[in-house]
């Protein structure tokens, strides 16, 4: 027999996760529109791998399969992995990444809800460190039809040279390190400020799709405003300040917000409730910190999109952030910050 309270609000982990998946759909649609259906193959690959890995780990740990397999959290992880990996990554890259995410980053820590690190970002970071080349080959908009992508994923990597290109972020960095070529930056970033050129062709539409999904999550009260606002605002402010200071060296905020995974990160990745900070002030600090680190790594670091590392670095700090941003308890407000 259970104890009070006896009536409960209808809510479940499953419904939360399903709504996150729904929220990803607009972004995925834009992705398919610009870069072809290869991403769908990746999503399927990652999902199947995630479910199988989850099932095996649950079995090994002697946990019931049904409630955990159907909770949808593994699917969220899988989809986010697929969306952050290049859509033409070889199949084993996606599978290996997903496997490590679920087994190491999630189940070795006790599974759902207990992992201190964001599993999807662990996968991304591990893979970009191990296979930098494979992780930085992205198709050019419209250059690879489904057959070519299929070919690239399941076999012949030779087809790639024709269809890949430096992503806008990479181009930016390549240019940055060569002072003679800095003049080119304007060319790379699309001097004509049409929308298609803010974050690189195609990219900003995907970002817009994620933004839409993010609004849905906000409306459903699955995420709060703190994280996305703090992340985007900080990224905007930092990149804006530096772009004003030296415009031909640093990319402006429009580019930073709409390229790479920034929008996805703002609404879907830094917001991961499990590995992030949870107090309201903590969320602001967490997301702002992630944004600053993202900008630093994007601009100066060795890896093109700093989001994964930035998120992992903030994951490390999350327990302390939470500990030191405990909101004052009812009745103890005079002693702000006194609580642990």
């Amino acid at each position: 027999m259970n104890n009070s309270p006896y009536s409960l609000k209808p809510a479940s982990v499953q419904s939360v996760m399903l709504r996150v998946l729904v929220a990803l759909l607009p972004g995925i649609a834009a992705y398919v529109w610009f870069f072809g259906a290869g991403i769908l193959v990746q999503i399927v690959l990652a999902s199947v791998t995630a479910l199988v890995a989850e099932a095996v780990m649950l079995k090994l740990r002697g946990k019931p399969l049904k409630p955990f397999l159907s909770d949808g959290s593994a699917l969220v992880t899988a989809w986010l992995i697929a969306l952050t990996f290049p859509s033409i990554a070889p199949w084993w890259l996606t599978v290996l990444g997903t496997l490590l995410a679920i087994v190491v980053a999630k189940h070795l820590y006790g599974g759902l809800g207990q992992n201190p690190f964001n599993p999807a970002m662990v996968a991304f970071a591990l893979m970009i460190v191990a296979y930098p080349l494979l992780m930085s080959q992205w198709p050019r908009v419209g250059a690879a039809d489904f057959a070519v992508q299929w070919e690239a994923i399941f076999g012949n990597r030779q087809v790639l040279d024709a269809v890949t290109m430096a992503t806008p972020l990479d181009a930016l960095r390549t240019v940055l390190r060569d002072p003679e070529q800095r003049a080119m930056i304007a060319g790379v970033l699309g001097g004509k400020a049409t929308f298609g050129n803010i974050g690189g062709r195609g990219w900003e539409w995907i970002a817009a799709g994620y933004f839409l999904g993010g609004l849905y999550l906000l409306q459903q009260r699955i995420i709060t405003w703190h994280m996305p606002v703090a992340f985007l605002a900080t990224l905007f402010a930092v990149s804006g300040a530096f772009a004003l200071y030296e415009p031909d060296r640093f990319a402006g905020p429009g580019f930073q917000l709409f390229t790479g995974g920034a929008m996805l990160a703002a609404f879907f990745i830094v917001t991961d409730p499990v590995s992030g900070a949870t107090t309201p002030r903590g969320k602001l600090i967490f997301a702002a910190g992630a944004a600053v680190l993202t900008w630093i790594i994007r601009t100066f670091g060795a890896y093109p999109d700093g989001i994964a590392f930035a998120v992992l670095l903030m994951n490390i700090a999350a327990p302390l952030i939470d500990m030191y941003t405990q909101p004052p308890v009812f009745g103890h407000k005079d002693k702000r910050g006194d609580s642990p």
Partner: protein
């Protein structure tokens, strides 16, 4: 003799410096990028441990309690320097690879810990044997770590052996197309593999424990049934 068995068992498994005491991690993790590096540093460590255990056990009567730690450190540091110089002279390439990790054997906590816990209290033979076994315990772990990391990282074993035996060369174990999993060679991989090793040790210990418990229960049950059988008589 069983005392020596205990010493060996302690060094190799039960009190293994890495798996049980979690000491001496830095050289272990930093130098285990390949089997050859790992074993080389391991051998240097054995050498230092045996020599220092020997020396300190031999000199223990002369060392006053108050300054035992400085004296231990002095002796260990001197021996390490000797080994360092020897590597520099005879295995120069390896010397360059192992870098500061040879001098750092000085601060390898196991050396000092063994000296203080064992050599300073035991006879010459036992102490030397303890140094050897603790060293071997360190070597097999670092060698395993090195082998795993090298294999996963680049699909080879014994690469770099030419630094020691110029006539030999390493083996390609996995197919040449194996893309290599670079992480294994980098610091994160070192931590992961060691984590897995420790978990493996926990698992083995747990299994051994369970088996022992089972045996004991079995024994007891037998005993009890014996008892029950004999009681009515």
């Amino acid at each position: 003799m069983s005392a020596y068995k205990d010493i060996a068992w302690n060094g190799l498994w039960k009190q293994n410096s890495i798996l049980a005491q979690v000491l001496g991690l830095c050289p272990l993790l930093a130098v285990s990028t390949s089997l050859v590096n790992a074993v080389s540093l391991g051998l240097a460590t054995i050498l230092v441990m045996v020599l220092s255990n020997f020396a300190i056990s031999a000199l223990r009567a002369l060392i006053p309690y108050e300054i035992r730690i400085p004296v231990f450190i002095l002796i260990i540091a001197a021996l390490v320097t000797v080994v360092d110089l020897a590597f520099n002279a005879f295995l120069h390439d390896l010397y360059l690879v192992l870098g500061i990790f040879i001098p750092l054997i000085v601060t390898n906590c196991i050396v000092l810990a063994r000296v203080e816990a064992f050599a300073a209290k035991n006879g010459l033979r036992a102490a030397t044997f303890d140094g050897l076994m603790m060293g071997v315990g360190f070597v097999w772990v670092i060698a395993l770590l090195g082998a795993v990391r090298e294999l996963i990282g680049q699909g080879t074993l014994f690469s770099g052996i030419e630094m020691i035996f110029p006539t030999l060369s390493g083996f390609q174990i996995l197919p040449v197309e194996y893309p290599g999993f670079l992480i294994a060679m980098l610091p994160p991989g070192a931590f992961f593999v060691l984590g897995l090793l420790i978990a493996g040790r926990n698992w083995l210990d747990a299994r051994a424990n369970a088996r022992m418990r089972e045996q004991r229960i079995h024994h007891q049950v037998e005993h009890a049934t014996d008892h029950a059988n004999s009681a009515p008589a």
